[in-house]
Symmetry: C2
Subunit: 247 residues, 2 copies
């Protein structure tokens, strides 16, 4: 069996609402240590803060090329696979992958697809909404009584695991859907499921999160997105027709 190593240029480190510029600098440094170069910052502090520069100690180029965007949705819109880090447990968040389990899924994708590892803010981590944009949830094993790792150390561990891992080659014959296509499908799905009274219009989130998790795990292909969109469109049509029949 062929084994492959990751294509590091296909992996972005995405930091969401980072509060301390020191952490952005430390992340830049360890990214460069590990051969990564693509940093995306979502509505946090600036990569040009003097403390970010200080802690980067030689990785200023990563800070200067960092992309800044206002929302996670924009950050991941062109990516085919997105994994979010979380230290909090919860029914809506399971199943969790370990970093090495993540690499088994991630690395084979990096040959053809754009991918992202998402890290939340130091205090709150990622919101449920932000985790909803991720296809996989990752948790670094840690002591239950003291689980919350420093942001830059968490990135260090993921980057280290990336470099350490090599995986059996996996064939992806069909093009995978980009996050933006998947999001559009989910929005359509939600509208339709509310329309047919499967979801309560006031509180669709809980069930939608479960559906996102389900589809997130399955690495949707573009063709499958079309099929799913087709289902919702057909339901919409039936509902409209029904309305017309009654009138």
């Amino acid at each position: 069996m062929m084994t492959i190593t990751p294509n590091l240029d296909a992996i972005s480190i995405i930091l969401v609402r980072t509060r301390f510029p020191e952490n952005i600098g430390s992340v830049a440094r360890v990214m460069k240590n590990m051969g990564l170069s693509r940093m995306v910052l979502v509505s946090g502090c600036s990569p040009f803060h003097s403390m970010a520069y200080k802690l980067a100690s030689g990785a200023e180029d990563i800070l200067e090329r960092a992309e800044e965007v206002p929302t996670l949705r924009e950050a991941v819109s062109e990516m085919e696979f997105v994994a979010g880090m979380t230290s909090r447990a919860g029914r809506d968040r399971a199943p969790f992958l370990s970093p090495s389990e993540l690499m088994e899924e991630l690395i084979p994708l990096t040959g053809k697809f754009s991918t992202g590892l998402v890290f939340g803010s130091e205090k709150e981590g990622l919101t449920n909404e932000e985790l909803g944009l991720c296809h996989r949830y990752v948790r670094i094993p840690s002591a239950p009584a003291f689980p919350s790792l420093n942001l830059a150390q968490a990135v260090a561990i993921l980057c280290y695991e990336l470099g350490r891992s090599s995986c059996p080659e996996v064939e992806y014959p069909a093009p995978l859907a980009r996050a933006e296509q998947i999001e559009q499908m989910f929005e359509h799905m939600e509208r339709t499921l509310v329309e047919i009274d499967f979801l309560e219009s006031k509180n669709p989130e809980r069930i939608m999160r479960a559906l996102r998790r389900l589809f997130g795990r399955s690495k949707l292909e573009e063709r499958e997105i079309q099929i799913l969109q087709g289902i919702w469109s057909k339901m919409d049509w039936q509902m409209r027709k029904k309305g017309e029949d009654i009138r």
Copy 2:
């Protein structure tokens, strides 16, 4: 085959000549994240510095219980297995283990023996003399052009690898020698090898480092130390006898 997990209480994190208290605090935090508790500080800045406390953010107990000693030799004297981190290559330093290779050796020892992971100062790392006290050298794989990791991130990666790994059980039927016993043997060896003109008295270090490496790899048993000491003692006796015969 039985697999075992590490006995974390048998593993000390030893920081040598640490310059920045922030790093000591960050190390304490990630140690606690990963279930480790024994920190030893060798002639660096104080664990009671306010910045160490700040960065520990919840792991102050590790700082308060940290042991402070003046030399690495004292720090490791009661330990049976000591691994030193290095990012610099060099003939005297090879072979290097990766963190996961280290764990295959370290973890089976933690059931019975006291062990230490040694991290040098932020700027210079460990000296050759300090590496000479280590039985194994470990290098975290990193980009050749930018290899030097932040101290606390290096500790984070080693602690993570400790938690991640489990190993086949290995039987150590005989008691291993403690570092202090091994040091005494090395000192005796050096005196004798100079005495018999195998080593130059002005520059014994290079060859001694090679010998330390060789014996360091082999996890010396107490009985073997006695055998080696016996060889040097016998040689000493022969040299004295020869001196007397000539007189």
